[in-house]
């Protein structure tokens, strides 16, 4: 009898232990010049990306995860470079417009109910989506404000793009040709953004070279920062 009681007691204890066992709820996955990026930031970024792209979370690959972390690191690097006072914050209308664009990408969303269901599927609430969109627009504006002054597109480049790239593409697709005057502003903007894209890559590369970036979770034998 006492033996049975003892066994019973042990079972109860083990059950209780399991019930109250600790779970890792967050951890540092990277540090950028002393600023931390948490597992929860990473998860949230992945959820958002999956939602925006209309992909189920269970299709997210290892490469996707790594790329998402790289982007988080880039965003942190840029955030550290640009003072928030230097740019104009996005308005509520800008945020609404962007959310509307995302919503249009989801063909399965027909009403508020399906919209909320789609969000929930990716573990996002409406307020979290709004936050992410706001942050995204803010960062985009930061980069734009920083890089655009150093970008110049001359008329010759616009004409060359129109003649050598756009017209052949239109002809090949059988679409109606448009005049240069009609599309010049948009081509100019496109070329400007391409140049900004190049500048951004160079800028990020130099920022990474100058920065202290650690990924403790990826290190083995030695802690991300020091010796274990």
């Amino acid at each position: 009898m006492p033996k049975k009681l003892l066994h019973f007691g042990l079972v109860i204890l083990l059950t209780a232990a399991c019930a109250y066992a600790g779970n890792i709820i967050d951890r540092i996955v990277a540090t950028v010049n002393g600023h931390i990026i948490l597992q929860s930031d990473w998860d949230e970024a992945l959820s958002y990306e999956a939602f925006v792209n209309g992909r189920p979370l269970n299709q997210v690959t290892l490469e996707d995860r790594k790329a998402a972390l790289d982007r988080l690191i880039d965003q942190e690097l840029i955030r550290q470079q640009i003072h928030p006072a230097d740019f104009r914050h996005p308005s509520a209308a800008d945020v609404d417009r962007r959310i509307e664009d995302i919503r249009k990408e989801h063909s399965e969303v027909v009403d508020e109910l399906t919209w909320k269901a789609a969000l929930q599927l990716c573990g996002l609430s409406e307020s979290e989506l709004r936050q992410k969109v706001t942050a995204e627009l803010e960062e985009m504006r930061m980069v734009d404000a920083h890089l655009r002054p150093s970008v110049q597109v001359d008329a010759r480049s616009v004409e060359s793009y129109y003649r050598d790239k756009l017209l052949p593409e239109l002809r090949a697709s059988g679409a109606k040709e448009v005049s240069l005057i009609e599309v010049a502003p948009k081509i100019k903007e496109l070329l400007a953004q391409q140049k900004m894209n190049d500048l951004l890559i160079t800028w990020l590369r130099s920022l990474r070279a100058e920065s202290s970036i650690r990924t403790p979770f990826q290190s083995s034998g030695i802690g991300g920062g020091g010796l274990e």
């Binding site: 951890r27 299709q59 982007r71 953004q193 403790p216």
Partner: protein, 1037 residues
Amino acid sequence: MQLTGTLVRSAVGRALASVSVGVLLAFLCATALAQNQAPEQTFPLLSAIADYQDLPVGDIEFRGVESHKDQAELRQMVVLKPGEPLERAKLRESIQALYSTGRFSDIQVEAEHTPDHQVTVVFLTTPNYFVGEITVEGAPGHPTDTQIINASKLQLGELLTREEIERARVGISDLMEQNGYYRSQVSDEEQPDAKTQQVAIRFKVSAGERAHVGSVTITGKTGYSPEEIREIANIHPGDTVSADGLTNALQRLRKKYQKKNRLLAQVTVNHVYRPEKNAVDYTFDIDPGPVVEVAVEGFHLSRRLIRKYIPVYEENALDEDLLNEGRRNLLDYLQTRGFFEAKVAIKRESAGTSNDRLRVSYVVDPGPRHKLVKIGIEIQTLSPTGIKYFDEADLRSRMQVQPAGRLFSHGRYSQSLLASDIRGLEALYRAQGFAQVKITSNLIDNYGGVPNQLAVQLQVDEGPQTLVGALHIMGNKSRSEDELRSVIYTQEGQPFSDYYVSNDRDSILNDYFNHGFPNASFEASAKPMEGQPYRMDVTFTVHEGDQVFVDQVLLSGLYHTRPYIVQRQLQVHPGDPVSQIDMLDTQRRLYDLSIFNQVDTAVQNPDGKEREKNILVNVREAKRYTFNYGVGLEFQTGQPTGGASPTGRTGVSPRVSFEVTRLNFRGRNHTIAFKSHVGRLQQRALLSYDAPRWFNSDNLRLTFTTFYDNTLDVTTFTSRRLEGSVQAEQKLSKASTLFYRFQYRRVQAANFASNFSPNQVPLLSQPTRVGMPGFSYIRNRRDSDLESTRGSYTTLDAGVAAGYFGSEANFSRLLVQNSTYHLFKKKYVFARSTTIGMEDAFGNTVILSPAAAASQTCGTSSTAPPCPPVIPLPERFFSGGGNSHRGFGLNQAGPRDPQSGFPVGGSALFLNNLELRFPPVTLPWLQDNLSFAIFHDSGNVFDTGHDMLHSLLRWHQKNPQLCMQQSTYKQCDFNYVSHAIGVGVRYKTPIGPVRFDFGYNLNPPSFPSFVGTAPNQVFAPKQASPFNVYFSIGQTF
């Protein structure tokens, strides 16, 4: 990272419509996931926090942090608090706060449900480690341990990462390769200490075989054969590769070309290592460049002056900077010669058949020759008292423009020099609050009606002086206003200027840094006071930031030294604010122990945001044994002749010296030293034990010394001395030091002159044991020990030799010296010094005058009575020479043996020196290193103290005729004050002035002497030479 975005797709509408979204969105994530990428592997996303979110926090724990104290500190830092709901934002902030301490490399957070529906939050931490002691095993000697440690570039206290260690290993390998060790292996071993988070790092170096020089190839039109180049470079196939070897080779080659005026020669070297042969092949690429000729046109300048003023010769290089420096030097030279409007241009032209010559010409247009005869300065002041803030002399002393004088026969002037002077003077006024100062100049040509004679008239308008009306110091919480005011210049009533505010900023921030506020910042603002435009209301605002305190002081590198030796030098203590000045002070004090080669102090985890930080002290112990040995030749004038010449003879002898020093004896900073040198002329040995910081006091020092000396004291005899002493030194104050000592010595005089009074020899040559306790007091208040201009210097030395202390002679000894220095007219120094010494015999010991001693018959035969104890000859006072009385030769003052005329010293000494030291004279070549002095020395050595007191007013030898006659020579009296005047020349050197003194004795003594040997001795009285010349180093007193 996916940053591309193809905006133009299949049709223009879609392509250009998407432009507004922008390419930049790509990096921001939303459009980044590849749409058609197949899932390779899926990962569950962590959403565990959702299960705990908004539950009340029960307990907060830290795993990986052992100390309860540390846990309590961390608990205060985290934003999450027990009882409050668990929120993601707070959790994030808490992790950031913990990470910012710099103590952790990784942090995870675990949550556990508790039975009472709360959540326990556990921070799982992985510690960071920091660089501690670095040691090296297997260093080959070149490079040394220290060079290897430096090559690792690891900084004490910095965060240690695997990348840092890897970088360190690469740095060490590079260093080894530079020294020829291409096959070296470098490994490392870390010993982390979880308690202190320090890591001791040991680099193990296996040097391997040193590489040798393979081939040496020469390229370029060198002008020499390859063999010659190898000889010049002193680098040959088969030589051992070394860092110095290659550097020296390059230097030798460059020098060779430079000597041939090929100042543009380029010599470079490439090297390739061939591992199969462990050899390094060198290729020297040489471009000798043209032969450079430098000439001056338009003005005659000797070759010597061209070499002096054009620095390309001195630097052996030719570049724009050096050429321009040469131009400036020439302009300066011309201006000093009166060509104030001179212009110098530089012209370069190639010459020779293949442009192998480059001629650099300085084309001089000297213009008319002027002479600046006067600089007038007129100062207008608004001061109600009419007192000018700076007088004319102050302003003149700061000017480069100078009127004709000794140094510049035509004066020194140019428009740019004058403009520069005016700028400098205006800045001087502005620094004193004269913000509106205005200085104008007027150049008067043909001054006084003389053609080309110039005068410069400066008009200084001081303007109003702005003073500080009120000073407010804000933001200071930890430092009181009084404390801050004590370190700054800006005060009410003082001049107000940016210059002083800037200095005060540095002073205040330094004060804060030294009180543990590394992030303190400072702002200053000032506005005129109401109704008082020249009184400023000044506000200094301090932002203190967080104060950082010392947690622990961690010592490393102690192997032989006892820790307490280091601990008692520490100026940083747990709980103190972290102070850079205290750390530097600790470092200085540890270096002062002279037992460490290197001392480093650092803050552990310098970038971490912790309230308490560990201070690291790492030392590298010096080698404990030092051996010095040598063989040489000693040369000495004034050796005892054993003959009749009072000036002695010159002796030469081989000499062997040996020294051994043992530092850090028994782990303390005590030192044992044995020093000896043995030659025919001099034999000395010394064994000493030195214990600084006796009784753990900075002011006490104990020294034991045993000393054997067989050497010359005066020309009269040779002194043999065997001495043991113990001395305690007590520093009473910065200026005053007291020495307590007991000396026990056996002294003996020998090698007397052959014609020395035979009756005195047994008396004076008897070996005497002297046991003498005594003390010395030194009070040094001079502004400089080498070149004193102000202050005073006093010494008092007293001792008693008595039978109680084992002494065979009973006497007391007192020697007092007082010197004072007075600066007047800002450049003249009047120095004076008075020395009084007295010895008094007691008990059975007697003092005998030379005449009385010569009449003694003791000890001359077996039947003669034994000699009474006398004060031993080496214990007596002697005087005369460059450092005492400059009217006598070395130790030639005072009583003399009536038979030989040799000085035999006395029992009393009086010496008074007066010296007027003139300021340095600026002369070509010697600059301002030469100066002159005139002096008057008076005094003498006397038979007894009584004789001294009664002879102080006697300025001439008493009845010198008695000394000059054979019948009365024994009555010759030397008790009088002898006077000497003279002139001195001093040349300033880093070790003190080199000094030549020419002394003329106004009343030299006459003294009897006999020449020849008994019984054919002839009475030949003499008079000491009045002329004396001395050469020595250091001031007289």
